[in-house]
């Protein structure tokens, strides 16, 4: 592998890892703070991709589609939290698994009824459709760089939100001791609703920006969900920092595995997880 193709694979692995982080961050936050295991998290990714496809066609602008889609996702997250998820914070994980598994079916069919079962492509915005030439034959698409850039911006934003703002302080306090925080006058229900909506929005944005490179197809949330589980398990449940490092690690192993060991590439990531479990049963960064 020469340097140019190595660079391309490296950039791809970082881009994939960052995209996984956007999904896993929501999953790990929702678990870490509310104690809810959400199998339907992958569905938000799928809904995002379909939203990007249908809104971009309707509004005529990909950027506008992302903005409107994000707002819709936040509203959807708040509604879902209020109607269903809120009542499961103190239930068994088993009940949460079943509830959110039922939701996967419901979201899948909502998608089927609203948008049909066809595979769709989403056009890249013209501004980002170029490629940067690396050698005579190899080039790297600008859009993938844009994706990585946007994910980095959002990751930094998430970090600042949680560690530097008053809201972030309340979120951390709530995760640490929920009753005590409530006793101090913090509206913990609102915090929970916001964290859930934030998780939904991150997953939806990930789906929206992934749509132009991955295309849009039914059940696209399933495989991504399981990858996110692997990321969260490796990183340590509840740890956003762990999720970032684990996501980059998984992105690296998966991308280079496909190039160097294509026969067993599907299993490599799980072997990595097994290895981590053997030495650190609670993940690399226990929250």
């Amino acid at each position: 592998m020469d340097f140019a193709s190595f660079l391309i694979q490296l950039l791809n692995s970082v881009q994939y890892g960052l995209l996984l982080f956007m999904l896993a961050a929501g999953l790990t936050l929702i678990f870490g703070i509310m104690g809810v295991v959400n199998l339907a998290h992958g569905s938000f990714y799928m809904l995002g991709a379909y939203l990007a496809w249908s809104l971009a066609a309707r509004l005529g602008s990909f950027a506008l589609a992302i903005v409107v889609g994000t707002l819709l996702a936040v509203a959807f997250g708040l509604l879902l939290e209020k109607v269903l998820i809120r009542h499961f914070y103190h239930r068994d994980h088993l009940d949460q698994v079943l509830l959110t598994f039922g939701l996967i079916y419901i979201f899948e069919e909502m998608r089927s009824i609203l948008w049909g079962d066809d595979v769709h492509g989403v056009a890249m915005p013209a501004l980002l459709a170029a490629s940067i030439p690396l050698t005579d034959t190899l080039s790297y698409p600008v859009y993938r760089l844009f994706m990585s850039g946007l994910c980095i911006v959002l990751a930094i934003g998430l970090y600042l939100l949680i560690s530097r703002t008053k809201l972030g302080m309340k979120i951390r306090a709530g995760a640490f001791n929920h009753e005590m925080t409530e006793a101090l006058g913090v509206n913990i229900r609102l915090i929970h609703a916001l964290v859930f909506a934030l998780g939904v929005a991150l997953a939806t944005v990930a789906g929206m920006i992934a749509a132009p490179i991955s295309s849009v197809y039914p059940n696209m949330g399933g495989s991504v969900l399981i990858m996110c589980f692997v990321v969260v398990v490796i990183g340590g449940i509840g740890s956003v920092r762990g999720a970032l490092i684990a996501a980059l690690l998984v992105g690296f192993v998966d991308t280079f595995g496909k190039v160097l060991l294509p026969q067993v590439s599907g299993m490599l990531v799980y072997m990595l997880m097994a290895l981590v479990l053997l030495y650190k049963p609670e993940g690399l960064f226990k929250a």
Binding site: G35, H93, L94, E109, V233, G266, Y270
Partner: protein, 332 residues
């Protein structure tokens, strides 16, 4: 967040009586039922064995596995590999080998997963099952995404499994044997230790029980019994594909156990029958105008699952027991 609770460990006499009557009814199905009904009920019984095997983990030990379908699929694939395309193979050595393969896989995977608990256990079992899924999905020699076909049912020598009725009774015998075995196990010292681990793992360790080896043994045994179900499934339907090991299959098994009422094995049977029946019902719904109601069966199943989790988290047996109790005590 308490550990999931087992229900009705000792079944009320009225419930046991109802189950005994149901068993007699079940044994009579091949005598009166049409071929289609016989096949359908056979597959329900196979799912009931699968659900019971999961109940050993979920209801008795308090371990929620989202990857149990992997062991179901492995034994089925094992039978498919052992069956040559031109002739039948003997039941008597393929069954132990296939079940053994599932048990071995469960032992290996269990070695990693039973170190974790709670939410980790859910995620890790799901991830390992996905690994097994990809193994069979990616590698052409293992059938790839199309799966494998079996042309013959196993040869039992004494009786002919190609006969739908005989296969039905054989499956019923497996179901009854599995139930009897698991009920015995539930009240054995080993079963009591597992229930203790569910109720309070720390205390069990403090009492000197090796919870790791107990959980590993339970995981392996559950994997082996899931293998029995998978073997029967492959023999009945004549094909295996990776979807049978996917996470939807595992989640369906969890739903069966919940639907019936967990921790007593009878609930798993009732739940499996009810779930499979509903699945058929939803898939065969008539169209309303241009809306293809049956095609969107996942919507109805999803709504049903959500409704059950909200309304009847103790399952059918839980509702039934409460109803019977109310009738006995006379208050309403």
């Amino acid at each position: 967040m308490s550990a999931p609770k087992a229900q009705l460990e000792t079944l009320p006499r009225s419930l046991t009586l109802m189950l005994a009557v149901a068993l007699i009814g079940l044994a009579a199905v091949p005598v009166f039922g049409a071929d289609y009904t016989i096949g359908l009920v056979t597959s329900m019984m196979i799912m009931a064995i699968f659900a019971m095997s999961l109940d050993l983990l979920q209801g008795v030990t308090g371990l929620v596995s989202l990857g149990h379908a992997a062991f179901f699929g492995l034994a089925g694939y094992a039978l498919a590999f052992m069956t040559p395309s031109g002739q039948a193979v003997s039941l008597w050595w393929t069954l132990p080998l296939a079940v053994g393969a599932s048990a071995l896989a469960a032992l290996l995977i269990g070695f990693f997963v039973v170190r974790t608990h709670g939410i980790y256990f859910i995620m890790v079992t799901m991830a390992f099952a996905q690994m097994v899924y990809f193994l069979f999905f990616d590698i052409k020699a293992l059938g790839g995404s199309d799966g494998l076909y079996l042309n013959f049912k196993p040869d039992a020598g004494l009786f002919d499994l190609e006969d739908k009725r005989v296969f039905f009774w054989f499956t019923l015998a497996c179901l009854v044997a599995t139930y009897a075995f698991l009920r015995r196990l539930l009240f054995s010292p080993f079963g009591r230790a597992l229930a203790g681990i569910r109720a309070n793992g720390h205390r069990m360790r403090a009492l000197g029980f090796a919870s790791f080896s107990h959980k590993l043994a339970a995981f392996t045994l559950a994997g082996a019994l899931a293998g029995l179900a998978g073997y029967l499934w492959a023999a009945q339907t004549g094909f295996m594909n990776p979807e049978l090991m996917g996470f939807h299959m595992s989640a369906h098994a969890i739903m069966m156990v919940i639907l019936g009422g967990m921790g007593n094995f009878a609930g798993a049977i009732v739940g499996a029958f009810a779930f499979e029946y509903l699945l058929h019902l939803f898939k065969d719904l008539p169209d309303i105008g241009s809306f293809r109601t049956g095609k969107h069966w996942q919507l109805w199943m999803g709504l049903f699952i959500v409704a059950i989790v909200i309304l009847a988290p103790r399952g059918i047996l839980g509702l039934l027991a409460r109803w019977l109790q109310r009738k006995e005590t006379g208050d309403d």
